[in-house]
């Protein structure tokens, strides 16, 4: 699909990249290696895939409360995703990008889509997550 989807903005910024889509939840700590920016949980369907500079799409966060530490480290290492798209709000996922914006002056938008739009997203397409306008723009 392509087009413009309205989204709920949890933290603003504009991120552009290829969609990396999973319908499994992600624990940043214990699931993502911040040095390499890859999913390192062998049980995860995105195992060994890089999240760096991707628009990372997953339903909701899970697991460890260390998620903001991992996200801030991803930002510092330059291995962070370009944007995060969820179906459900998870404060733990929003915190890292907010601290990153205040401390490292780098913005990674985190947005939520409603279920019908969320399930339309397909891996491999390019997208812009525009946290200023509240839109996810999908390119054909």
């Amino acid at each position: 699909m392509d087009g413009i989807l309205n989204c709920k903005v949890l933290t603003s910024g504009i991120g552009k990249g290829e969609l990396l889509v999973t319908h499994q939840s992600i624990s940043l700590w214990g699931g993502v290696d911040p040095a390499r920016g890859i999913i390192d949980d062998p049980r995860h369907e995105l195992f060994e895939r890089s999240i760096s500079a991707k628009v990372l799409v997953f339903p909701y966060g899970k697991g460890s409360a260390a998620a903001p530490l991992v996200m801030l480290e991803l930002i510092k290492q330059g291995t962070a995703p370009a944007a995060i798209v969820n179906e459900e709000t998870d404060p733990l996922l929003v915190a890292g990008p907010i601290i990153g914006r205040h401390f490292y002056k780098q913005a990674i938008p985190v947005v939520c889509l409603d279920h019908d739009n969320f399930v339309m997203l397909k891996a491999g397409q390019d997208a812009i997550v525009d946290g200023e306008r509240g839109e996810v723009v999908i390119f054909p």
Partner: protein
């Protein structure tokens, strides 16, 4: 977002630059997640002293350099390694130095050096109904569920911002309406022996976390005499496989005197019936060990309690760990001091167990053995040690872990209540 005059002053920098930065982050977070206002909190348990890289260290050193001081009593969660003893298990001096810098920054901000992921075992027990801001997923679920205190899954670094301001965005589990369960867990043909078996509770927690995600659950059918260690294991596992932050056990936990009291009747609730087969399947997912070969027995995730130490010593019964096996226990400083005074450390050391404090079982093998097979009584550890470091894991009771450590190979018995 509504802010009181005092909160506006914090945001404007009138309480100093550290408070301004902390409050700015909390206000942005509150607006992002839809908080109408802040809640004044009484206590913080912070995981900002955990090292995963230099970013977190830079952030807390920055807050400390700006003169930040905690505004409410604040206890430290475990850090990554045993602060005193980590060089003995191969942590390089440069990295140990970074842990010391985290310690220094937090002490400068006047946090309490509890260094434990189980503060509730150290007498840190917020009252039922009190508003707190805790980090560490197992501590969060314990505070909400077992103590009846109120905290969201606060998150590392957000927690120290809460400590410096005494505030947290008032959303989620601070609000009455979000503390009601929308999933009711019951048991299908579960034999009574299951409820007396310590192995059952972490597996139950893991199954609940996996199937219920971030929902609040009510569990019926658990006996009233369920122990603190059972509840610790249940919560820790549920918070690692899902995002469980609050469970109610009908007739046991403070907000669940009855099912009606803790179930959300405003909307349809889901029933989840768990059978011995479901628990068996969970066990199969957690056990990644391929055969009976064993390298390491790791206990204390969450940190070992006094009761668990007593059980461990009783199970060892004067025997010694096999020379090929590494055996380690992690606990808090306070409980390690108790164990030292009680002669427990001496007995364990003679048996071949090393007892560490301050740090995390899961990061223990990073510099000594980067692969192999471990055995633990923690479903949380069995889950993360595999996902994080590729270590294969077997899950069993403390007694099974001891028998395995002594014989040098994995010794497990399938519980009779699991069927087959």
């Amino acid at each position: 977002m509504y802010l009181t005059d005092q909160e506006k002053k914090m945001l404007d920098g009138k309480a100093g630059e550290a408070v301004r930065l902390a409050m700015s982050i909390l206000v942005d977070l509150g607006q992002g997640i839809g908080a109408a206002e802040m809640v004044a909190i009484e206590h913080v348990h912070t995981d900002s002293g955990f090292y995963v890289g230099d970013a977190g260290l830079e952030f807390v050193e920055h807050l400390a350099a700006l003169g930040g001081k905690v505004r409410v009593p604040t206890s430290m969660n475990n850090t990554t390694y045993d602060i005193e003893r980590c060089r003995s298990y191969g942590v390089p001096s440069a990295l140990a130095g970074k842990i010391r810098r985290l310690e220094k920054a937090h002490l400068a901000m006047e946090a309490t050096p509890a260094w434990t992921c189980a503060p509730y075992q150290d007498g840190i027990l917020p009252k039922s109904g009190s508003m707190v801001a805790w980090s560490e997923s197992n501590a969060i679920v314990f505070a909400n569920s077992v103590l009846g205190a109120r905290t969201n899954r606060t998150g590392d670094l957000v927690d120290i911002c809460c400590a410096l301001t005494g505030r947290a965005p008032k959303t989620g589990l601070y609000l009455n309406e979000n503390r009601l369960a929308d999933i009711h867990v019951t048991f299908d043909n579960m034999p009574a022996e299951a409820f007396g078996d310590a192995r059952f509770y972490p597996l139950l927690g893991y199954a609940i976390g996996k199937q219920c995600g971030n929902r609040v659950v009510a569990i019926s059918g658990i006996p009233k005499d369920v122990s603190m260690d059972h509840l610790k294991g249940l919560g820790a596992a549920a918070a690692s496989s899902g995002a469980t932050a609050l469970f109610h056990i009908v007739g046991v936990t403070p907000e669940a005197p009855t099912l009606e009291a803790c179930l959300n009747e405003e909307q349809p609730t889901r029933d989840l019936r768990l059978s011995p087969k479901d628990i068996h399947q969970t066990s199969a997912v957690l056990c990644t060990a391929e055969n009976d070969q064993l390298d390491w027995v790791g206990l204390g995730c969450p940190h070992f309690s006094r009761d668990e130490f007593n059980e461990l010593v009783a199970c060892i019964h004067g025997r010694k760990v096999h020379t090929d096996i590494e055996a380690t226990v992690f606990t808090s400083r306070k409980i390690r001091r108790w164990a030292d005074t009680a002669g427990v450390i001496e007995q364990l050391t003679q048996a071949g167990f090393q007892v560490y404090s301050d740090g995390c079982l899961l990061t223990y093998p990073q510099f000594i053995n980067r692969s192999g097979t471990m055995m633990t009584n923690s479903a949380k550890a069995a889950n993360y040690i595999y996902s994080q470091s590729g270590y294969l894991a077997a899950y069993g009771s403390i007694r099974e872990c001891v028998e395995s450590a002594i014989s040098g190979k994995i010794m497990r018995e399938r519980p009779s209540w699991m069927g087959f």
